[in-house]
């Protein structure tokens, strides 16, 4: 995964959660980020789908553990 993709995913997540992107890192997860509830998780998925023109499988949506893993998943889908 390229750092550009990670930074972009991070920026989108920051917008969705309405937090400063500097507070997010690859290990950021729903447990750590207060705003990251199930509604915001769906918003994040939709924002990424809209931005990259990709679709996540239901299993992939459920399996997203942290931002690093999500960015990797995005990279494989747009590769």
């Amino acid at each position: 995964m390229s750092p550009e993709i990670f930074n972009e995913v991070c920026g989108i997540a920051a917008d969705v959660f309405a937090v400063d992107s500097k507070t997010l890192h690859s290990g950021s997860s729903p447990e750590q980020v207060e705003a990251w509830d199930s509604v915001q998780h769906l918003n994040l998925v939709l924002a990424l789908e809209g931005r990259y023109g990709i679709q996540f499988e239901p299993e992939e949506m459920e399996g997203m553990k942290n931002l690093g893993q999500i960015a990797t998943l995005v990279s494989t889908k747009i590769a």
């Binding site: 989108i12 969705v16 309405a18 509604v39 918003n43 939709l46 924002a47 809209g50 679709q55 239901p58």
Partner: protein, 620 residues
């Protein structure tokens, strides 16, 4: 400018406290790439700006049979960039029926201004979604809607927007369906027709043509079956913003964010090329490409003018060159008589826009501005943040669509006055010429040959009366806004009078242009509302109407006529109204002044040059 650059600029404007500029740049950012990814950012940026700029508050409840949470931030961002601070309440999933039917439900506790009933065919009419349906099913689904709408009206005077039913992408009987005269599609269309009829019979109920919205973007593209089956979100990510825009087309007019006029640039906007350089033979306008793109825009503008939106020209040009093209170019659809005001000169656009607003007697915040040049647009945004600047796409072939999609041009009701408005303004220009030619003001009033007809409001005039209370800002003593529903209730209240005034003169029938609402209670009659359209103020019909109110109060045994003047940013023209008519200041509070007229011995009379036709007192 690249989006990242724009965001950086917005951050700096926010940090520096340049709220209006930041809001203006956010609008550009949103109009160029609005959608789910950006919504959170726009909403949180506006949270900082909101305390410092003028936004219209509006409370919107969404009742739904599907997941709407991801659309809510997009809707809020659309609203904020259109000048509306939207408070949204989403009803419990699939609880729309209970919420509508139960007067004690969270829906009514929220006290919404507008309620959206966002339902889809497969949820509320599964038979219609799966099978060709019988008349019995059509009736059952229709009566379901009837029950909901009636229950809603019993508990709330808010506006209600109901989604129409959409047809499926594939019919249950396949192509055989289209061999039948009565089929699955026609059953759904029949329900929608019934729904429109139900809505028209009630005040403040509107139908959102969900079927047409889905069709516009393509049935298969619109839906996302995975998201529907997993998280009950039936709309694919790229179209969530389109759903939000669909709602905004109703919310903008309901929240009062409407453009009353659109000021249009000429070169490369109304036609292709530059008239001063390319000449009559060189500019591109007509039915063939590339002129066809500009002709399409002119058709869109003509449609706006038929909705009562005034057209104006705001162009940097030599007036002779530009007028020749407007008058004589064979490819033009719009001609000088379509425009209520013309500003063709070398002054800056903001100044011209201010003059146009003044000439048309409307606020600068009711003017939309159309210009192909991003620099001009930005300048206007910065110098006159009230103006609604339409973010035209770079390609002229998309101009017409951009205008048709602009929410401030939407109207939910259209009166006869709206359709004829352009003509009134042409007549006004003639009147202005006459005023120059007669010597005294009284001669001018006499020469107008005015006739005023005062009538209690009735079913035919209710819509226009409510519309006037919503839209009149200048000659309006209390600026109380009423919905049709509320006016209907006032009409039936004992002691209350809701009157309308129609005005004709030798140049035009101005139609219904004024409203007075009076509460008669014993010795005191209080004027709750007194307003006149700016089309007729300054011609003494206001005196005629006020004199008539005094006469009626006297006839009902009243001793004193009272009225509040509540100042707003815009109603300065009405400030001295009561004083000038012999009222005395009775008291003053931080919100306004209470004026009073002793009816006995008052000199208030209808001016001799206004012929008064009054259909008197059937419901006093």
């Amino acid at each position: 400018m690249r989006p990242s650059g724009l965001r950086h600029e917005i951050e700096e404007l926010l940090a520096g406290g340049h709220w209006h500029k930041a809001a203006a740049r956010l609008r550009v950012l949103w109009e160029s790439e609005g959608g789910v990814p950006l919504a959170g950012y726009v909403v949180s940026a506006f949270r900082k700006i909101a305390p410092h700029i003028d936004l219209k508050p509006h409370r919107c409840a969404i009742l739904r049979s599907f997941t709407v949470e991801p659309i809510v931030p997009v809707l809020k961002a659309c609203a904020l960039t259109s000048g509306i601070d939207l408070e949204v309440h989403a009803g419990e999933f699939n609880a729309y029926a209970q919420e509508l039917l139960d007067a004690g439900s969270p829906l009514y506790a929220f006290q919404p201004d507008t309620v959206i009933l966002a339902v889809q065919t497969r949820d509320i009419a599964p038979e219609l979604w799966r099978n060709a349906a019988s008349a019995e099913v059509i009736n059952r689904v229709t009566s379901q809607f009837t029950g909901w709408i009636q229950a809603f009206r019993r508990s709330s005077a808010a506006n209600l927007i109901v989604h129409s039913l959409e047809t499926p992408a594939a019919f249950s009987q396949g192509v055989y369906d289209s061999q039948l005269e009565e089929n699955q599609a026609s059953a759904i269309h029949q329900v929608n027709r019934n729904l429109r009829k139900l809505a028209r019979a009630e005040r403040g109920i509107y139908v959102l043509d969900y079927d047409a919205l889905v069709a516009r973007y393509g049935r298969e593209q619109w839906g996302d079956e995975r998201k529907w089956l997993t998280v009950r979100l039936p709309i694919a990510a790229p179209h969530l913003a389109h759903m939000a825009s669909g709602w905004m087309r109703f919310l903008a007019p309901l929240a009062g964010r409407i453009a009353k006029a659109v000021a249009v640039d000429l070169d490369n906007t109304l036609w292709g090329g530059i008239i001063g350089e390319d000449g009559m033979a060189g500019i591109r306008i007509g039915s063939e490409y590339p002129g066809a793109a500009f002709l399409a825009l002119q058709h869109a503008l003509l449609d706006l003018s038929r909705r009562g939106i005034l057209l104006a020209v705001c162009s940097k040009n030599n007036p002779q060159d530009a007028m020749e093209a407007l008058r004589d170019h064979p490819g033009m659809l719009l001609r000088p008589e379509h425009f209520a005001a013309l500003r063709i000169n070398w002054n800056d656009k903001t100044r011209n826009l201010r003059e146009i607003a003044e000439e048309l007697n409307i606020g600068l915040d009711a003017v939309a501005f159309l210009d192909d040049n991003p620099v001009e647009r930005q300048q206007v945004r910065e110098q006159a943040p009230e103006v609604m600047v339409v973010e035209l796409p770079p390609d002229p072939m998309q101009y017409a669509q951009a205008v048709r999609d602009y929410t401030a041009f939407e109207r939910l009701t259209l009166s006869e006055e709206d359709r004829e408005r352009g003509k009134y303004y042409a007549a006004e220009r003639q009147r202005a010429e006459l005023e120059q030619s007669v010597s005294t003001r009284e001669d001018f009033y006499r020469s107008l040959d005015q006739e005023a007809e005062i009538m209690p409001v009735n079913a035919l005039t209710l819509g226009r009366v409510a519309q006037l209370t919503q839209k009149t800002n200048q000659f309006n003593v209390t600026t109380k806004r009423y919905t049709e529903q509320q006016i209907g209730e006032l009409m039936r209240c004992p002691g209350w009078r809701v009157l309308s005034i129609k005005v004709r003169d030798r140049y035009a029938d101005n139609g219904l242009v004024g409203v007075a609402i009076v509460h008669h209670r014993g010795e005191i009659s209080e004027i709750d509302t007194f307003l006149l359209s700016c089309r007729v103020i300054g011609r003494t019909v206001e005196t005629a109407l006020l004199a008539w109110l005094a006469e009626e109060a006297r006839a009902l045994g009243g001793k004193r006529l009272q009225g509040w003047f509540i100042p707003t940013k815009k109603n300065a023209p009405a400030r001295d109204f009561y004083r000038e008519h012999g009222f005395a200041l009775r008291s003053e509070t931080p919100t306004g002044q209470l004026w009073e007229l002793e009816l006995e011995g008052a000199a208030l009379r209808c001016p001799e040059w206004v012929r008064l036709l009054a259909a008197v007192a059937e419901n006093a």
